[in-house]
Symmetry: C2
Subunit: 380 residues, 2 copies
């Protein structure tokens, strides 16, 4: 028997209760029954986004919501500031470029967080920028961005703050309205504990004026049509991904039962324990200011993380992620977001230890697990 565990930074493990909700007999999407579910799910996402605005649910992956953010706000030739301190930050620049924006790409060293001071400099350098695109939780490096701090700057300007919180929502507290974020996007297969296939987006009141005037082509991702359909008839402009919406309905119910503050505290505890374990193994974290959904770690000298993750998956049934882009082979990433318990985490750390041992890295075997145990029990 080889039981399988998934500690990837998305897709994440899905509770059996949610899988069974997804497997319920099909219903039609233009019915009072589905509209009721859609409204409850939308309201649940509003809580996680920290907004009174509508959260629109798109059938698509997180990138679809990122593209919706740009296609609805940036007209060709407009200026965009994109912070590319990782693979997902780079995606903002790629999308803005595809839409004909004049892109100012800021490239913090991967693992470094874009700071409020850097944001201030970027905004004064490009005061006409239509958008400043940042990544709340950069999944490729595990670096956290101070969205709240940066929003204090943008809300005083005409530049919209566009935030990818795909691995932030449901993991970290998000206060879109209170912070002053203009566009926030997220995805389903992360903190929300459901399979991939849904993307989420909400926009601030002032963003609607920009959307109305935006000349970029869009149809499937047109936020005006989404608003009209949701507010008018509690429906979606195009066929909703019915089974995934029902999975989300169940997942949000489970998160509400646990209590959102407890969900965030659990993620903080899992992250702290993972970091403690990695330090005990003599390893160094990639980010200076880490997120709580994934821990990115430098591999020991001479160890290829492609090989390491393959051993973990094939020999121990434990899937984690390697590095992306120029960090491929050099780092490994342990996802601990969504449906991950303290007990699960021990499985991940155990497998990391075993693979490192097999690959010849010298360390006190079991010391990572012991450190996690202490941290989780509050004795760190």
């Amino acid at each position: 028997m080889q039981k399988r565990y998934m500690f990837t930074p998305g897709p994440t493990m899905v509770p059996a209760e949610v899988l069974l909700a997804e497997a319920a007999p099909m219903i039609h999407h233009r019915t009072p029954q589905f509209s009721r579910i859609l409204r409850e799910v939308t309201d649940g996402m509003k809580e996680l986004f920290g907004t009174e605005q509508e959260v629109f649910i798109i059938a698509g992956s997180g990138t679809a919501a990122m593209e919706a953010a740009i296609a609805n706000t940036c007209s060709p030739g407009e200026k965009a500031i994109c912070v590319a301190g990782g693979k997902f930050g780079e995606r903002w620049a790629e999308i803005c470029d595809a839409y004909g924006c004049e892109v100012n790409v800021i490239e913090p060293e991967w693992g470094r967080s874009f700071s409020v001071e850097q944001a201030e400099a970027a905004l004064s350098e490009s005061p006409q920028a239509r958008v400043l695109c940042i990544t709340h939780s950069e999944t490729s490096t595990g670096a956290l961005t101070d969205v709240e701090g940066i929003a204090t700057l943008t809300r005083e300007t005409g530049t919209l703050l566009v935030v990818d919180s795909i691995t932030g929502v449901g993991v970290h507290p998000v206060r879109m309205d209170q912070w002053g974020v203009d566009v926030l996007v997220s995805g389903s297969q992360k903190g929300c504990m459901i399979p991939p296939g849904l993307a989420f987006i909400a926009v601030s009141p002032r963003t609607w004026d920009v959307i109305e005037g935006c000349t970029s082509p869009r149809y499937y991702l047109d936020l005006r049509a989404m608003r009209k359909n949701l507010q008018g008839k509690t429906t979606t402009p195009f066929t909703a991904s019915v089974s995934l919406v029902r999975a989300l309905h169940k997942a949000l119910e489970m998160m509400r039962e646990e209590g959102h503050e407890n969900v965030f505290a659990r993620h903080a505890r899992l992250a702290e324990a993972t970091r403690a374990a990695m330090r005990a193994l003599g390893l160094k974290l990639v980010p200076e200011n880490p997120v709580n959904g994934v821990t990115a770690v430098w591999a020991p000298e001479g160890i290829d993380t492609g090989e390491m993750t393959k051993i973990m998956r094939d020999d121990y049934g434990v899937t984690i992620a390697g590095g992306q882009g120029h960090l491929k082979g050099k780092i490994f990433r342990i996802g601990h977001m969504g449906y991950v318990s303290e007990e699960d985490l021990l499985v991940a750390i155990s497998a990391v230890e075993r693979a490192l041992r097999e690959l010849g890295y010298e360390f006190e075997f079991g010391s990572g697990l012991a450190a996690a145990q202490r941290a989780l029990f509050g004795e760190a």
Copy 2:
């Protein structure tokens, strides 16, 4: 007890086997395990499309694939001929318009099929058209288009034939390569028997030259990225909708077991029986040349189909569809595509009879069922 039946032209009923495949524990999308599934599913869709080209699987609804068709082929200012003989044909015109095309909209009366002769006239009127967009099976009216015939014209010209076969694939035989279709799109919640949330698109070899030169912005729907990822690494550029792809894997297996020719023959039989039943009830069909996935019927004078479908759903647990656009209230549509047996069909016809009876329409009660019974038994 009220058992529920769905005879809508999408979403359609999903076999329990498929629902359970969808509910399997999550796996990561960048693994050999998922790549194997993706390859098998892609190959299965190629059979249904009748093409040797790749069929790209998009996380999104069918409209996403329609937009992909236009965003990748039409540059702003180029000419597009769009046949809008129903709600979904109109969608082609809306998308082409959103992308800045100069759109020549041809509007056959709803229910009439766009003919080869009309196509010939349209192509000679707009010889520079980049695309001719048609609807294989127009779900809003139940009208079938002679795609094969029209393709004999376009393949001799520089105009690409772009076909929405969202309710055609898996219902009617489709021979994309043999006919000479350039772009074919479909969706998951129709003949393919899975929930909504996947869209499909394939393009002919000559279309790639147009795609490379197309200047319209696209990122999530960029076919170049889809091809590169599928052919290079048997993967998708963005996170695949893992659970729906696995559902499709199971559904395609079931369709292969039944035999594709048998699947098409079953749809033809269901459609013929439904038409016979409606004629026996003294009702008139909307299309002159009907499709096999849905039967669109004019309501008797004085009967509102909104009221009729509500009675069917609430009192008898049977969901069918009313009319769309200017046919709202005037027609009803019985979907019989995907996971519909001969026995199921009797349930639909029974509920139509009951609702019409309640609404005061005079006819011989049971005559629709009897006609269907005869047609299904080959005694029509």
